[in-house]
Amino acid sequence: MDLTYTPEEQEFRARLREWLGKVLPVLPPKPSPDDWPGRRAYDLGWQRRLHDAGYADVHWDASPTMRLIFLEETEKAGAPYVGAGFVGLLHAGPTIAAEGTPEQRARWLPPILRGEEVWCQGFSEPDAGSDLAALRTRARRDGDDYVVSGSKIWTSHAEVADWCELLVRTDPEAPKHRGISWLAMPMDAPGITVRPLKTLAGSAEFAEVFLDEVRVPVANRVGDENDGWRVTMVTLSFERGTAFVGEVVACRRVLRELAGEARKNGRWDDPVLRRRLGRLNAEFRALWRLTQWNVSEAERTGGVPGVGGSVFKLRYSHARQELYDAAADVWGPDSLDLDRPWVLDRLSSLSYTIAAGTSQIQRNIVAERILGLPKGR
């Protein structure tokens, strides 16, 4: 067991740090959270800078440890998040890289890496959430096109996306996992209506997408017809890999800021609160070690993260909510003031035990795929 980094990894970190030190001070100001075109331009601009500096494909080609270092260092330096690039860089891109034809890879991957095109995700439906394979959006073959009708939900960045990675039902007669296909749908196609959804935090972070006879070329299908479920699982395993590295680093910083705040406002004198923060320190330190363990395991087994990601997500999503509940204890009545920092973060932390597989679904995954307990409800 070794927690030291190789000379190569250390050099990668040093070069990255140096570059971040140069580039971050000259970034344009961050757009307001409601300014979607501004956010798109800002996030793509950052990806362009990463591309020009040689970091564009850090999520794909770099070793898991290099990726860990990249995410750790960018978070520590306060660099922009992946933002609008999320689906392209972390879902659709890796799927196309793994399952696409040479033509598909050549068409879609370079614009993702250069920060030119934004992707969104059309997986969940109003009646297909945890039971994703029950999705009903129908794609009917008509010549060289599929004609797609249905509706998708929880689609982030739908308003500003160029492409949507879309799961559709191509065979309604087949068992539910075997009649699904994966399509790249151009978001400017006729028949698409995007309706923003307001979250409990008061902002429109995602949208409903209605599809009415939308024509998508058959050439835009990645993988075989009716093989979309397997293709999708490739994508989801990426989502549960190193996705939270930056966030754990951020939580540890928030925790230190909270301790400083508590010391200033006198709450630190309460031993119950102090010990609660001490326990949270243990929690996030352990989560960091678990990240390092999972990354090392991915390194050993050749890259694709396994179900260990579910173990991590269960513990992390809960810890993040605990962190902001403790924060509310530190701030007292200030925790009711939306103009205070972190109050919106507290609200958004409520999504962590739901998004990307609820905690209940994650427990099923852990119990059935790691512990080998029988399927059943």
């Binding site: 927690l3 031993p271 363990w293 990354v295």
Partner: protein, 292 residues
């Protein structure tokens, strides 16, 4: 960064597991419960012979010359099988007390909460055991005395205790899963019911998070890492045993089934390294100590 067991570490883990399965299986565990306070001196010498106590002693001093990570793996296995005796005290005394390294001498330590484990069976006691009073120990496999003067606790003891807790938590999860697969009610294995399978999943989550913390502390020996390991491993062991008991239903409440031994030993270990609040306070203070 290669934060995984090396081949040698796997081999050591497998070797200790194999030895303990052979020498301290179910029957020996039962026998130990039926003869409280009796230490198996032959097994103790055997542990000495394979280097359990001399594991971290340099080779020039007749030791095995390995480090904390290897010791953590060995103590994890001990925790897993509920191996009785003052293993920790004897291991920590290997360099100082003649015969401790070989298993000839059994050593007891005055602990941080003023408790002494295995005082009557020990040849040597470290710390002030004057005025020791026996108490009727809740754990049939750990005889306890109370002493008036507590002793400062060695961080290595905190870490190795956490390793034992980790082994115990791992075992409790395995036992719960075995039972949930085999036991049928309402015409199906109870592990098919989400209420039961989610208990098992949470046991694994706590165990694997604790594992990362304990192994990392073994590599760094950093005080904050050790406090972290201790808090996570205590939680994994105590709650793991509780949930394992729950999954077993009425059988879990019997003397016959071993889960109560895991729970009671886990309770004893939570006191061995001093109060948990101390670790919490240390980790709270650490938040202010380092720059943001």
């Amino acid at each position: 960064m290669r934060f995984q067991l090396t081949e040698d570490q796997r081999a050591l883990q497998g070797g200790v597991r194999e030895l303990l399965a052979r020498r301290f299986g179910r029957e020996e565990l039962r026998a130990a419960v039926d003869a409280p306070g009796c230490l198996d001196r032959a097994l103790w010498r055997e542990l000495g012979a394979v280097g359990f106590f001399a594991l971290r002693l340099p080779e020039v001093q007749g030791g095995v010359g390995l480090g904390l990570p290897e010791a953590v793996l060995a103590f994890e296995e001990a925790g897993r099988t509920l191996l009785p005796g003052p293993l920790m005290a004897t291991h920590l005394a290997a360099a100082e007390v003649p015969g401790a390294a070989t298993g000839e001498t059994v050593v007891a330590d005055v602990g941080a909460c003023g408790l002494v484990e295995w005082l009557a069976a020990a040849d040597v006691v470290r710390g002030d055991a004057a005025g020791a009073v026996p108490l009727r120990s809740v754990d049939p496999l750990t005889p306890l005395h109370r002493v008036p003067v507590a002793r400062g606790v060695d961080p290595v003891a905190v870490l190795l205790t956490a390793a034992e807790q980790l082994g115990s938590a791992t075992r409790a999860c395995e036992l719960a899963v075995q039972h949930a697969r085999a036991r049928e009610q309402f015409g199906q294995p109870i592990g098919g019911f989400q209420a039961v399978k989610h208990l098992c999943a949470e046991m694994l989550v706590r165990t694997e998070t604790a594992r990362a913390a304990v192994y990392a502390a073994a590599v760094t020996a950093d005080p904050a890492d050790i406090d972290t390991a201790r808090l996570l491993a205590d939680e994994a062991a105590v709650r793991g045993a509780r949930d394992c008991l729950q999954v077993h239903g009425g059988m879990g409440f019997t003397w016959e089934f071993e889960v109560h031994l895991h729970l009671k030993r886990a309770w004893v270990r939570t006191h061995r390294a001093g109060d948990a609040t101390e670790s919490e306070e240390n980790l709270a203070a650490e938040l202010l100590a380092q720059p943001i």
